[in-house]
Symmetry: C2
Subunit: 340 residues, 2 copies
């Protein structure tokens, strides 16, 4: 049965560079295992489902990675070490596309993709805004480039936090593109982070595809545009089930629920909690996800919403979401230690 | 019949902010109409086909926008004025999604998308590379931020060209996301640029979807992930036909052909030239498009390929492609003026 997670993994071979990512994860985990640093795995951005083995077209999910990248900054602010698992716009190495090894190698050398979903810190300066912030000073003594004075305070603040996160070894960034890469990397990350037990949060903000095309039904080459096409999509297994019950049974697991129809939102969130037995669903509507979320727990549900003043002042809802999650995590740890 | 371009336009209403883009195009065109500046319209990046009216999922085409964004820089180097029509990662304003005006307005206020396909100049500094190039200097006299000395030469060069393009009014950037937005904007741009006649190049590097889902077959809300799905895709009309014969009959039109199977590549390019009667097809394989292209004209075809030395030195194939296109454009203008 295609919706079974074990069968899904066994029919989609391990991505080529998973071992490298696992090594990075093990180093990161070892650095934080002794001590009391709290750790969060943040997933961010959408996943792709290729329509062709030589992928020209794919089915994609809505996500710029705003939620995940900004939350990462706020978790760092609160002292957490963060594994930031984010989306590359295109498959880095065409590594999961089931090709002969020599063809993959060829692709790997050739394709130099540089566009991604938003990343913490750099997210504040995407596109040409960055170039507009720079002054070119050409004198007889040489050329220098400085950030224009009005932009210094804001950039200095971001730069300070970015450099500090790197220096403390508190930020590890890993990437995925396809839903296959995402699922493989997520399982590895869970297995490696599991020893952190209740000190670890899983903050699953990525917009993961619910559908996929089985490899044996995919076209090898670009589909010719000579006639209408029908695409059959199968269900991706719901990975929260093994994640909560088997992979990180002692961690604090937070999932997200995005809907476009508000009548379904809370029921769907509650349904997920009942089914997977994790701690928290952060439910949001596509139409206003930057301003309003509903926190749904086993016990209750409540709304976090930015006021117009907060929005106008440039505040981000993720600051409040993360504060809330950190408080809940604190209680959870206290509960587990029998201190409360 | 769905493959008819007139019917396609009449069944997909004009995007909300098309008028604004048309005003910008008219200003740009007026600035360059008197004089002898040559003008190129570069299209870049992929298009999306939403699967839902409230779009969470979409079908996408492979394209980081490398070809279009780098070619734009080389056209500016050669003195051309450039309209750079590029892809926003997500629909800016959900403007083509056939919703009631008040719902659209709501989206427009809320969604602040900032991730795009590559743009000229800023493409050299995407992601966190930019933050790694900055030094933070905090002294008692205050804080300043400078570009690290080893990065000054490269950034200075890019910054000089970027500021010069803006100051001369030689670069106009417009954006699209869905295939509907792309087709509407392309037609408007052609109609406004048409008076430039043979002084104008159309350099159609965008990866435009060949398929779409008719609005009346689209789901209104996010498709539930409870059972497998089938998506029926219709053919997008081949827009080169009216473009070449009706919209810009005197311009120098260049199209691109991407394939993954090399046995089809040149035949497909030749077939397009015979069908649409334009001037040049630049044919490339997904596997090596950064290193090798075949220029296919009515008369002949020849290969442009980077040597290993050129690649290692960081040269880009777009420099050679643009040089070649500019030479051909020169000949074309001379022919038309009866000077050759």
């Amino acid at each position: 049965m295609a919706s079974n997670w074990e069968e899904f993994y066994s029919s989609h071979p391990q991505p080529a560079n998973l071992n490298k990512d696992e090594d990075l994860l093990r180093d990161f985990c070892a650095r934080h295992l002794n001590g009391d640093t709290r750790v969060v795995l943040v997933t961010s951005g959408g996943t792709t489902v290729p329509l062709e083995h030589n992928t020209v077209r794919f089915v994609d999910n809505f996500s710029a990675g705003t939620r995940g990248s900004s939350s990462t900054e706020y978790f760092l602010d609160r002292g957490y070490a963060v594994v930031f698992m984010h989306r590359h716009l295109f498959t880095k190495y065409v590594k999961s596309l089931f090709m002969p090894r020599d063809v993959k190698k060829k692709y790997r050398q050739i394709l130099g993709f540089r566009v991604k979903s938003l990343q913490p810190f750099s997210r504040h300066f995407s596109g040409q805004k960055f170039l507009n912030m720079l002054d070119l000073n050409e004198t007889k003594d040489g050329t220098s480039i400085t950030v224009t004075s009005e932009n210094v305070p804001r950039i200095a603040d971001v730069l300070r936090k970015y450099k500090s996160a790197l220096e403390c070894g508190k930020l590890l960034e890993l990437s995925f593109t396809t839903v296959y890469e995402y699922l493989w990397l997520l399982r590895s990350a869970c297995q490696i982070l599991a020893p952190l037990a209740e000190r670890c949060i899983l903050y699953l903000a990525a917009a993961v595809s619910d559908f996929y095309i089985p490899p044996n039904e995919m076209s090898v080459h670009k589909i010719a545009s000579t006639k209408p096409q029908t695409i059959s999509l199968q269900l991706v297994p719901k990975i929260l089930a093994p994640l909560v019950s088997l992979w990180v049974p002692n961690a604090f697991v937070v999932s997200f629920k995005l809907e476009t129809n508000k009548d379904l939102l809370i029921d769907k969130a509650r349904e997920a909690l009942n089914k997977y037995k994790h701690k928290l669903v952060i439910a949001n509507m596509l139409q206003n996800y930057r301003k309003k979320v509903t926190m749904v727990t086993q016990q209750n549900s409540y709304v976090i919403e930015l006021t117009t003043e907060q929005s106008n002042a440039g505040e981000e809802i993720e600051m409040y979401i993360v504060k809330n999650v950190v408080d809940k995590h604190e209680e959870f740890i206290a509960d587990r230690s029998g201190k409360s």
